[in-house]
Structure formats: structure tokens, C-alpha cells
Symmetry: C3
Amino acid sequence: MRYSLAEIAARIGGEVIGDKDFIVTGIRSLESAGADDLAFAEEKFLPQAGASRAGALLVPRAADNLTQHLIICAQPFQAAGMLMAEIDAEAQKIPHTIAESATIGSGVKLGDNLHIGPGAVISDNAIIGDNCRIYAHTYIGKEVVIGNDTHIYPGVVIREGCRIGNRVIIHPNSVIGSDGFGFLQIAGRNVKIPQIGQVIIEDEVEIGALCTVNRAALDMTVIGRGSKLDDHVHIGHGVTTGSEAIMCAQVGLSGGVKIGDRVMLGPRVGSADHISIGDGARLMAGTQAAKSLAGEIDYGGTPAIPVKQSLRQIMAATHLPKDRSRLAVLEKKVEELEQLLKQKTQ
Amino acid sequence: MRYSLAEIAARIGGEVIGDKDFIVTGIRSLESAGADDLAFAEEKFLPQAGASRAGALLVPRAADNLTQHLIICAQPFQAAGMLMAEIDAEAQKIPHTIAESATIGSGVKLGDNLHIGPGAVISDNAIIGDNCRIYAHTYIGKEVVIGNDTHIYPGVVIREGCRIGNRVIIHPNSVIGSDGFGFLQIAGRNVKIPQIGQVIIEDEVEIGALCTVNRAALDMTVIGRGSKLDDHVHIGHGVTTGSEAIMCAQVGLSGGVKIGDRVMLGPRVGSADHISIGDGARLMAGTQAAKSLAGEIDYGGTPAIPVKQSLRQIMAATHLPKDRSRLAVLEKKVEELEQLLKQKTQ
Amino acid sequence: MRYSLAEIAARIGGEVIGDKDFIVTGIRSLESAGADDLAFAEEKFLPQAGASRAGALLVPRAADNLTQHLIICAQPFQAAGMLMAEIDAEAQKIPHTIAESATIGSGVKLGDNLHIGPGAVISDNAIIGDNCRIYAHTYIGKEVVIGNDTHIYPGVVIREGCRIGNRVIIHPNSVIGSDGFGFLQIAGRNVKIPQIGQVIIEDEVEIGALCTVNRAALDMTVIGRGSKLDDHVHIGHGVTTGSEAIMCAQVGLSGGVKIGDRVMLGPRVGSADHISIGDGARLMAGTQAAKSLAGEIDYGGTPAIPVKQSLRQIMAATHLPKDRSRLAVLEKKVEELEQLLKQKTQ
């Protein structure tokens, strides 16, 4: 990255106060930016922005404490986001070529403008849309269908028959369409229930690194449009999620769970199988959902209860050792009172 | 899949009521089956089976509410399982060939009828039995021994010297025989304890995607015959499990733990190191075992206690905020009583 | 391995009592060692060492109950560690060659004495130091810098621009530099915040199998010198750790967390985002840190509190069902006392 402030202002629709020809070579946070960097600050961070060693600042307005070169724009974070996206695109630029060492099966249909990396395996009858990146060492199973503009990072495994939408991102070494976990106990043995369903990943879904989204036993596991999964998330067989859900790292959803739209699951949230979680419900970090939960409510605890109750319960529990002593003291006093009254009555 | 009901009835030993030549092209659940699908229902699900849009049903008996074509058989679920296994085998059919891009080390012994996928690495002196599938991008270390009929899915890494049994399944990107986690603190530095033990995976074990089974420091980490691990399970160095154990997703067992036969560990169960869990013990989701646990008992909680106690404790905890108020009220009343009695006595 | 006791004694500076020409072919624990094995016992394990079937023992002194051949040395465990390191080095020996099937990008700088395994991808302008092992199916992104003597096990993915130090070990299928998890909710959609920061892994860090260390949004995610991560550890974007930290399996640190030197995190420890944990703090298994924690203290619980308090609280909680009954009994008694006093007063 190497831009003059004038170029940046033009691109984001801002105005330079200071040297228009000043060159910045990176975007960093207020704390770590250096003399060649651009940093940004929303209104509420302007007081501390003056202390930043950034050479230039993206800010909503000038202020006395800001001695850096400035670019003034209405929404600094969003403007920075546009620049960050350009930097990201540049950093991840990759040739639209198909590596010689890739294995392309029979009957495969490939779209235009693809990157298929070294060693990638595209199995028979798979269909890949336009502008996709199928990075090195990926394994795309038989009859998998992938839409347009989708990025499949190195080492991802997508097993046979799964369907991946448009503008989907799957981060490295995740596994889509692996067998669900289903066994019958017959005569003391664990007998495998074949898992013949599939997985559907809808448009604009992002799946973190090292996630598992298991194929359904019979029907479909579905990750709804625009949902985002952080790393190490486990989605059991037959789970369906609504659109625009957020699942933080290390979440685990057991088989058959139904998640509504816009549900937010904090880190390490877990669920029992076959429960449902309503639209807009939010589960704090570590919440364990044992039963179905109504939508538009915040939950916490093990098992999940409304978060205010959960916090009151946690707070009350911190007093437990002391409260036990108080209880014992009371018991003694009441016994003494009983004795005393008994004596008086006699 | 494309079968007439007569063909299916013949294969599973059932009887058709309705059109013997009716063709089904899939097996689905009662809820999602369509006009070309076969669904199945055990006795207790017959009431709702009438509403299924399935073209045909596998059921234990005819009933007035069932207007679909029927196949009558004693055990519908088991019969469906047979068909599902056939469909699964067909969907996963793969040529018994060794990819040109695979790397086969010196001294390797390969059985008959193998699939070795693109880019697979079989290191020096490894031994692979008959009918195995060693998928793309797998890494089989030096002197690894793999039995017959075993499937190693894409991206799995098995490090040097590990021994894998017959009819074992290891799902994508799992890691077997990686170093156990052992360090000595010497003069403020973490000094690595070399991990020179091995891993033994016995016959009929199934290991989910993205699991780790670490090599022992000195001896053996053992996963016992018929045990099944879901995804994201972590097995520390020197753990040994009995046969037919079940470990759900995201379970973590620390070093040296001994697990008995038929133990069932729910999702996210964890354990302290070097404890033992007796035969047939069952740990509910999220249970954390801090000490050794006797067999044939169900456990819950953190730390693990018998599940009934754990549920009573969880239930009691929900009353904590209210109970604290009750305690405060009582303290006040007792103080008043004491005052009153004191006055009376004077 | 095949050594005479004389050879071992010479190497570790010990003294043989028994047959100097006795040959051992392995090192095993006291419990599992056989007639050809060497086992070792520190002073406190000498009583049970007599029962070991080991052919020879490494011990701090002779004792009446020890009938095996002995090697006497001051620190048996450390001496055994030296031998284990040799055995480990031998077991993992690998040719210093670059596989023909590896893909080396343009502008790549390769050090001396490298192993680059089959199918490894080294992207444009990456720099690899001397004596590194870059195993099969690894993906090293553009402009990644790797120091000397570093081992990158099979299937590891390191994305563009990350910097890996000297003598680092990264175990199989881990992912370094994947996007951090950052989204803005705009008009009901989850809009990705580009992640343009990097990851720095300092010297002597060891990262387990199937870990994720995410790139920062803007700045740097840093794993400090000598820190050790077990398997399945998740490090969010912008986390920084001090030196010589220990993180056990399945730990998850949310974005922006700051960890001090020598911090120890037990299995399944989690943290809220943007908190700090002071030097030398130790968090027991499963502890969830919701707020910043002072150093040099041991913590437990959810949320984290000093471990002694946490244990007292856990202990008190086990009495909850009984204490609720005690509370109800007291309420009844106090009511009766109140009635009685009222009657008396009338």
C-alpha cells in the first residue's frame, strides 16, 4: 500500500487538512500506527487520537489536539473499512490459473476466471461457478456444487454432494459434509447409522478455520444466508440455521438443532440436540442450551436462562460460603430462642 | 438410487401393500420426504406418518391413516439402515487405484484392492492392509501399520509408528500420533519432554473430523475396539479407552486418563489428567471430571457428581437470589425475637 | 534404539551396577517396560520400581528392592529425557531434500539444509531459514518469513505475511494467520471487516495440532517467546501473549486479549475479549475469565475468581439442596416462635 492523502480523500469522498501529497504506507490502530501510517478515530476516540504517532488520521472533524495530517470524512470506520478491503484484496491477489498439479475429475464443470491451487482435487461431476478460488490441497467431493465468487481456502474438505452458495468463504482445513455422529447400540456394539443426507451452505456464509459442518443422516444440514461461523465451530447432522446468524469460536450444536435468524452465539456456547433457538436470541459466552429457547431474549448460564437471572444467580453464588455460615448461626440462635421460650413456658 | 417397492421388499424381507412397481429415488425423513421418496416409521410414529408426503412408507403394519404405498416389515429403522448403507456405499464409490501423484516411500508394503488418492504420502516402511482407502492429501508416517478395510479420509495425518486396526474410519483432517503436551519448567523456561510413545487405534474404531489423538510420552495411547469419537475430540498422551466407548463432539481427555468399556461422554465433557472412569459410566454434556469416577453411574456437573444430585443442585441454584432474601428476612426476624425476649426477661 | 548400559552411562554421566554389556532396545515407563527396556525412577518412586519388569533401571541410588541392572545418576528423569530426545530425533529423521512435487513461488528465498515435503506450497517472496522442515501438504503464503530450525508439520496453513521465529514447532493441520472474526451489523446484514493485520510467532514457540492463531484486524497477533500451545487452541485476532506461557488443549482466547509472561491456562479455559491476564497468573481447567485478572494468582470458576474462593464456592454449592430445606425449616420455626411470643404478649 502506498497512497497520497489526496488519493485516499478522493476515493472515500473526504477532505484533506494538511499535506495532500503526504504518503501513507499502511493502516494501523491509533496505538500502534507509526509516522508512515494512517489511523482512524470515530468522534468518541478523538481525545486520545492526538497522542497517536500516526502520520495521518481519518477523523469526522478537525480538533485542537490533532496535529497530524487529517482526512475529514463522515464515517471514518466505514471509510477505513473500504481501504482495508483494498489492501486485503491486494495482499490476497492470486493468479486465475488452474495448477498443473490439480486433479480434475470427469464430468467436472468449471466456471470462468478460476484459481485452482496446487494439488487441489475436484472430483467427478462437481460444478464450480465463476471467479472462485479453490486453494491448494482442497478436496472437493463428487457432485459438489459451488456457486460464483466463493473462496475455499487451503486444506478444506467438502464431501460428496454438498452444495455451497455464492460469495461464500470457507477458511483453512474446515470439513464440510463429514458423516454425522449416529450409532445404534445393538448387542453391546456401536453400529453405524449411514449418513446419506447433505449439507447446504447458502450465499454469503463465512465459515472459520477448522470447523465441521456434518452431513445430515437423511435430509439436509443448512447454514442460512449471511451466517458467519468463527473457528472451531461444530455443526451436527441435520442442524439448520436461519440467515445472518453469528457463531463465535468453539460453539457446538448437536444434531437436529434449529437456529433462527440473527441468532448470536458467544464463544463456547453448546446445545442439546433437537432443540430450537428463536430469531434474534443471543447466548452469552459459554451458555449451554438444554431446552428450546424463545427468540429476541438474551441468555446465559448452564442450563440457559435469561441473562439477567443468570447474572443474579452467579452473583448470589459468590456469597454461598458466607451464607452457609449465616444459616448455621441462625439455626443456633433459633434453637436458643426455642430453649429459652420452653424454659419460660415451664 | 432408483428402486421399485418390490425390489426393496425382496431385499429387506418385507411385503408390499399398494403398487409393487412404484419407483422411489431416495430415502428421507417423514417430514421432508416427497412423492418419489421412501420414508420409514416405527410403531410410535405411525400416527404422524399419515401426514407425510412420502410416496411410500416402510412401516411395521398397515393402519387406516396411511394412504401411501406401504412396505411392511418387522423393524423399519433397521431395514431403512440397510438401504441407507447401500446408498452410502454407492455415493462414496471410488476407484481402487493408486494416484500417480501419491508418494510411496521405500519399503512400503501395500495390500490388495487399495485406493490411494492424489497427493497422498505413504512414508518409508509403512504397511497398508487390503481394501483400504487412503484418500487425497493424507500423510502416513514412517512404519505406520494400517489393517484391512480401513478408510482414512482426506487430510488426515498419522505420524510415525502408529498402529491402526481393521475396519477403522478416520474422518478428514484428524491428526493421530502428534506429540503429547509435556514440558518441564527449568530456570523459567518450558523445556520439551520428547514424546516417543505411540498410538494404537483398535479394530472398528471411528474417529470424527478434526480430532487429535496424541502419542504417549513413553508407552501407548490406546483407543479401544469399537469406540466412536465425534468431531473435535482431543485425546491426550497416554490415554487408554476400553471397547465400545462413545465420545461426543469437543470432548477433551487430559494425559493418562483411563476410560472403561462402554463409557459414554456427552459433548464438551472434559477430564483432569490421570483419572479413571469406570465401565459403563455416562457423563452428561459438559461434565468436567476432576477425580476418578466409578462405573455404571450417570454423572453431571463441574466437578462431576451423580447426575440426580447434579440436577438437584442446578435446580436449587436457580432459587439462590430469592433464598438470599429469605435468609436476610429471617436474620431480621430472629434479631427482633431476640430483642423482644430480652426485653421480656428484663 | 539399541544401546548397552555402558554406552548409556557414558552418555549421561552415570555408573552401571550390574551387567555393563546388557542391551536395552527401548525406554518405557515402570509399569509397561519389559525385559529389553530401560525404565527410570526418581527417589520417590523407588519403592515401586522393584516390581517393574524392566531389564534395567535409571535410578538415583541402589536399593535392596532393586534387582534389575541399574544405572545410577543424579537426575534420572532428565537423563532419560536426553535419551528420549535422541530416540525422537532418530524416529523423525527425514532427508534434507526438496520434493519434486513441492511448489516454490517466485522470489522465494530458501535456507540451507531444508526438508520440503511432497506437495508443499511455498508462495511468492516467502523466506525460509536454515535447517527447517516444511512437511508435506503445508501451505506457506506470500511473503511469510520463517526463521531457522523450525518444523512445520503436514497440513499446516500459514497465510500471507505472517512471521515465524527460530526453533518453532507447529503441529499438523494448524492454521496461522486466518482472518479474525469481525463483522459490522449494517441494515440487518453481517458485513465483514477486512482483516489486514498479521501474526508473529516468536522463537521457541510450540503450537499443537489443529490450533488457530488468527491475524489481527489491523496490527499484530503475537505469541511470545517460548510459549507452548496444546491442541485445538484458538487465539483470536490481536491477542498478544508474553513469553513462556502455557495453554492447554481447547483453550479459547477472544480478540485483543493480553496475556502476561509465564501465564498458565488449563484445558478449556476461555476469556472475554480485550481483557488482560497478568504475569504468572494460573487459570485452572475450565476457568472462564470475564474481566482482567491480576498476575501471580491462581484462578478458577465461571467467571474467574481466586481458586480458593472458587473451591469454597463449589463445595458450598454441593450443600444447596440440603441448605434449602434447612432454610425452610428455620422459616417455619421462626414463624412458630413469632406466634408463640405473640400469644404470650397478649
